[in-house]
Symmetry: C2
Subunit: 342 residues, 2 copies
Amino acid sequence: MGKIVDVKFIVKEYTYEKPFHIANSIAAGSTNVEVQVFVENGAIGYGEAAPSYRVNGERVETFPTLEAFVKEQLVGVDVRNYRRIFDIMDGLRSASSVKAAVQFAVLDAFSVETGVPVYQLFGGAKDEIETDKTVGIDTVENMATEARKIFESGFKTIKIKVGEDLKKDIQVMEAIAEVTRGANYIVDANTGYTPKEAIYFAKALYSRGIDISVFEQPVKAEDIEGLKFVRYNSPFPVAADESARTRYDVLRLIKHDAVDFVNIKLMKSGISDALAIVEMANTAKIQLMIGCMSESSVGINQSVQFALGTGAFVFHDLDSHLMLLEDSFRGKFVQKGPRMLA
Amino acid sequence: MGKIVDVKFIVKEYTYEKPFHIANSIAAGSTNVEVQVFVENGAIGYGEAAPSYRVNGERVETFPTLEAFVKEQLVGVDVRNYRRIFDIMDGLRSASSVKAAVQFAVLDAFSVETGVPVYQLFGGAKDEIETDKTVGIDTVENMATEARKIFESGFKTIKIKVGEDLKKDIQVMEAIAEVTRGANYIVDANTGYTPKEAIYFAKALYSRGIDISVFEQPVKAEDIEGLKFVRYNSPFPVAADESARTRYDVLRLIKHDAVDFVNIKLMKSGISDALAIVEMANTAKIQLMIGCMSESSVGINQSVQFALGTGAFVFHDLDSHLMLLEDSFRGKFVQKGPRMLA
């Protein structure tokens, strides 16, 4: 039996190697909350909430105050009956990253109990995935240097943050393309463009012979018509990230034929909605990538297990733990450069 | 490790206690195929294919000839990596009940290996479900007698087969309602009505004060517009059964707002599509019931584990094993009258 006897929330402060700059947001580090689920037989499950005010509207200072509520809901429930806990946590819409952490910690405890790794509880679709690495917003020169460094260290896919300055963004892409021939590019505007700016940007790249694999969240989160407009007027696949937080968001995107790709992040959706989004996207033949907020290796482990287990993703953007300073690596997977192995 | 070393298909003949009559089809028994998956450590997983030519277009005489293909695909794959097997079996669109049996047998072997019951691999949402029991097409008098017998033996929900004779069907419902006050009714026309006949039928019941919980598949499988027309012109929830075989069928029903309910049957969808349909229906707020073809207790076990684990169903129509003659009960659940317990 695997009845839950205790739940603990532990606040953790992490610092980025260097400040991380995306469209209209700069972060020096991240305050995360580690969730530990204790089972009667001694098993402990680990999860991590890496909050995002910008995307989820959630505030990390509220998280410790939720420990008592979560504990009250979970104590006495068997981790093997994990869907009951998924359903309970679906109610915590004010803190989707806590929902994710608790749902995962329960699966992790179930995994420790049974000796089956979490990725095999999810189905064990893959033994290995490969992550991209991200170039934050900086000068044209620094971004090109950073991209070259990433490419030369073995990452085949480079994610590039744009969305603050259209003309400069085009120069950035030209400079990066020149020094990373053969790389795949995921370009993420983090809602920074208007629909017409986004199309201008995509056509400018196209006319310069620069191919991008995914054009992520070009426009505002709520602008579904805008996303669709960019999709139908851009030569590159368009992805929803900020527009695709819950299963309901994704059903709406499907009904509107608004996107080619969805970027699933456990911190937006939790495990429960992420599973639903995988099934819906597979059915609607929308491609998937998986991304992260500012998780440490504990939190990235959640997404690695999910991605290996479901095998659902064309691209993996799971690099926050490579950018945060950590005392030790705590993932239950093996990291070899861009490769992440079960 | 749980590598598959062998797969066996065994043809089994079952006879109904009495011939089972639904709209435009009478069956004296069923020829099913039991699937056994053998794992290197000695674990054996069991599944069962109960074919339906009428619904799936599949022919059971082809199934034994598929044993070699399935074996070739599965041998060497670890049952813990069950999604790989799900994906392989998704290709076998000519025999969806075989797909279901193989996918489940693999989960069953995984379950034996780890000591975790299959319903908990699915999430362990419920400890208990309750099935209805079905009244096949017969004379008005015999149907009322049968319904009363079912109700008096403790079944709270009665499924009634109609769809061959509109006027008589209304008389049947009047006669049954009289002798089973307080029962829930699922009325299944098995594609037997035109949209206007279906609406006539529903309004006739309504005007007589007879309430039905689900009005199942009133019109032809391909008539999605007809389903929607009945939905919007009938006081009762309308369900798709024959119209909802795959995940793609259900996405189309959702996009067209065509139904209130979907009847999932593993024999139509396999485990993989059934899981997708659960997620899509939950997202679109379409209600779910789970049904069966002519499974023995081995095959019904598949649906019981699925229903307990996902907890996704308002109604359970899992009674074929109660109507077939079997040497012994082989389900991995406890049957107590209408109750099915983990």
